[in-house]
């Protein structure tokens, strides 16, 4: 600011205040219809001293000064209780967007889902958000925008749900919480392709038993074949090693 004002206000070297002819009219100032033109230096002063609002702080950095104390109605409390029960009981909670499906479609969908003991639940989004805000599922809150419904089941029947939803294009899967794990729509698809737990366990057990059974079958072979195998093992391992005896013993121990 100083620089701008200095240039205009400070006296030039050869400036004499008395000899300078100052043309200032002291009469006829009473214009009230329009704004009188401002002096250029006053204009600069006005520009320099404009109001600058404080920078916006990050949201949630400070608690709001006027916190609204909202008294929740009885209906909201009841609905919240129901939501809590659903979240406690159910293994799978899928959030589905309901895009203008009429009652007939909804009825058929509910019927189809009911065959697999899946249930469609309607809760107001306000209730859902106020419930999620305090619970451990708070990361699900962004899913509840617009008309949403919940599809819940006590057993995680993901495949059945996906196949049923495929038949009704107006219902769009947004995400799901399966076994306390948040999954996106893509994640749910991947989850449904996984084999069941018992199958995976069986595979693991069979893989483990295969090794031991093969070792046992090797040991049951003819001793000449066994010694040939061991000799081949020693010759394979012996090239870098200096003492083959302990390695052979090790190999035998490993084989046993």
């Amino acid at each position: 600011m100083a620089a701008t004002l200095c240039g205009t206000l400070l006296a030039k070297p050869g400036w004499l205040p008395l000899t300078q002819c100052v043309r200032v009219r002291h009469m006829s100032k009473s214009v009230t219809r329009h704004r009188r033109p401002m002096h250029i230096i006053k204009q600069k002063l006005m520009a320099v001293t404009e109001y600058i609002p404080p920078k916006r702080l990050a949201a949630g950095a400070y608690p709001p000064q006027n916190q609204k104390v909202e008294v929740e109605s009885g209906l909201v409390l009841l609905l919240k209780k129901e939501v809590k029960k659903v979240f406690q009981d159910c293994k799978m909670i899928a959030v589905v967007q309901n895009n203008a499906s009429n009652s007939e479609d909804m009825l058929t969908l509910r019927h189809r889902l009911h065959k697999h003991s899946l249930t469609v639940k309607f809760f107001p989004n306000q209730v859902m958000r106020s419930f999620l805000k305090d619970s451990e599922f708070c990361n699900m809150a962004p899913l509840f925008i617009g008309p949403t419904v919940l599809i819940v089941s006590k057993q995680g029947k993901v495949k059945e749900m996906l196949s049923t939803l495929r038949g009704s294009p107006q219902m769009v899967l947004l995400g799901a919480c399966i076994d306390d794990t948040l999954l996106s729509a893509q994640g749910v698809q991947h989850y449904s392709k996984l084999p069941s737990v018992s199958v995976v366990q069986g595979e693991l057990v069979s893989g483990l038993t295969l090794l031991s059974s093969r070792t046992a079958s090797l040991l049951q072979h003819h001793p000449a074949r066994l010694s040939a195998l061991l000799q081949q093992y020693v010759s394979q391992q012996g090239a870098p090693a200096t003492e083959p005896r302990p390695q052979e013993g090790e190999g035998e121990g490993a084989a046993a």
């Binding site: 206000l9 006053k42 009652s103």
Partner: protein, 254 residues
Amino acid sequence: MMSLLKNTISCWRTHGLQGSCIQSHMRILFAGIKTYDIPPDYSDVVLPDKPKLKFLNKVPNFKKAKKEKKKLRDIQGPAQAANTFTVGSYAIVALGGGYIHWGHIEMIRLTINRKMDVRSTFAKWRINAPYKPITRKGLGQRMGGGKGAIDHYVTPVRCGRLIVEVGGRVELGEVEPILTEVAKKLPFPARVVSRESLAAMHAEQAEKEQNNQNPWTFREVACGNMLGIRKVLSPLDLHNHGRFTGKFHLPGRV
């Protein structure tokens, strides 16, 4: 016989079609939650005997009318008087200076008295009857020959002054259209305010002054006469801090 059967079948079909049409337009209805506001309490409101706006004289009855100077100061800067509520709860507030003529006063009076509900509302003037004489020279007169004769009287109004107050057992929504219609016709920018909104306006201004992030303020520069800036400032700028130029209010300045 066959034709009759056909007719019934076609009838059935069309009915079935209509039914499906209606069903396809149906939406699932959600039960919403509605909480009603508590209605305002008007138990402490006392209506005056004469709720309407009084008639204001066009000409003050002086024994000897005296010509005055222009005295533009009485419309410059912020209002010092009648800038807060007294009995009412809604008002028209001036957002700039200016002169109210008797014609404006009559317009306000007639409009508000005609449109407001007398049983539940009252209105009160916050301005005086026209008292400032304005002189004019007669038509076709040559210049010179001294000051002209008094032509009419006006009421000077400064920025922030309340013009009319309205109160009673009414909400803002009921009287706002009437007051807005009046406020639009005044010779300066004017707004309809309630007690709360006026307090909010003042609070916002105070908050702006407190939280201004600009280290250079008009007040400091002008009062400190930095670099001889007083040469181009008016003496009123020392009081108004650049928030007014003449009768005009500059919004958004601190």
